[in-house]
Symmetry: C2
Amino acid sequence: MPREPHAPAEPRAPRADAQRNRDHLLAAAATLVTEQGTQASLRDVARRAGVGLGTLYRHFPTREDLLEALLGRRFEHLAARADTLAATEPAERALTDWLHEFTLDAGAYHGLPATLMATLSDPESALHALCLRMRQAGGRLLAAAQQEGVIRPDVTALDLFALANALSWITDQAPTLAERRDHLFRLVLDGLRPRP
Amino acid sequence: MPREPHAPAEPRAPRADAQRNRDHLLAAAATLVTEQGTQASLRDVARRAGVGLGTLYRHFPTREDLLEALLGRRFEHLAARADTLAATEPAERALTDWLHEFTLDAGAYHGLPATLMATLSDPESALHALCLRMRQAGGRLLAAAQQEGVIRPDVTALDLFALANALSWITDQAPTLAERRDHLFRLVLDGLRPRP
DNA sequence: ACCTGAACACCGTTCAAGT
DNA sequence: ACCTGAACACCGTTCAAGT
């Protein structure tokens, strides 16, 4: 039943050893990036995965490719959250809740806010598309809130992306300020509401 | 006339060659840090200064020491600006003008916002005292503005320092957003004003 | 197809040897 | 006192050689 002579070109299943190496690399990367941040040594990742350095580069040609694989699910989930919040919460609440969750995800690893922000100037980055989807998801919630007049009309989805990353960056850079995070978040968000 | 037998311990003048090396190091660092940011290679700095690598470490034991020497004058000037603004401008204007100038200085080199922000968790850094003076200068302007009721009372000098650095960081990280800088600045500052 | 690891060109930091 | 540069322990990235 398989082996159709002219079957439509299915994507070949990867060789078993290749798949296993990929899994080991991702597991090793998850550990090291959690411990040391987005700048963790790629040599260490390969070492911990029990794999040659070239194998890491074969599976993930750039550091961003590796991070994308690590972050994909998390941010897909976040994009979906935008739609559920839009459906269940008032526009302003949906926007602020979602932005708050975004700042948490953007701070998942040390150095991640900087990595995400750098994506804006680098369309080749494997994280570029991921960040674009985030801007679009945030943009939809933003438009709804602006429609209701609860957010200034001169705020763009890009502004939101930059500000939310900047807020994540503050606690990433100075853990001392972790306790001020929610307060700073509210201050900045307040600046986005129209002046009466 | 010199050579007083029991003259009070004057700080010995540095040897002429040492002084010359120091000057060359600072000139080289100024060029390379301007071109490549705060993470410029120290090897390159020594090379361009025409000096051995050990000589660089003798004069500037850490990268922060070098940056401090590079930034000292600039930020001293900025601290003085706080007092002149306080004396000549209304409190709110003085605060926003000064903060705006701070964001410009904090963005003088690539990577500088991150370097400055990191000093909060590192009291040993040569830049720690410099950043403290900035927080104090900003804090005085903040207190005056709060006294007049034009800025929320729950904003601290640390909040200001973090937010201003974060704004500098946005354009540092994504030059694309340079055109949005002043707009983002105003949005954030607006969030610091009391709600009516 | 896929994997390995040596090779290359860099780092930051230290320190024995020089003047 | 001060300077030098080799030495050490790391990087990221590439690529010839293997299975």
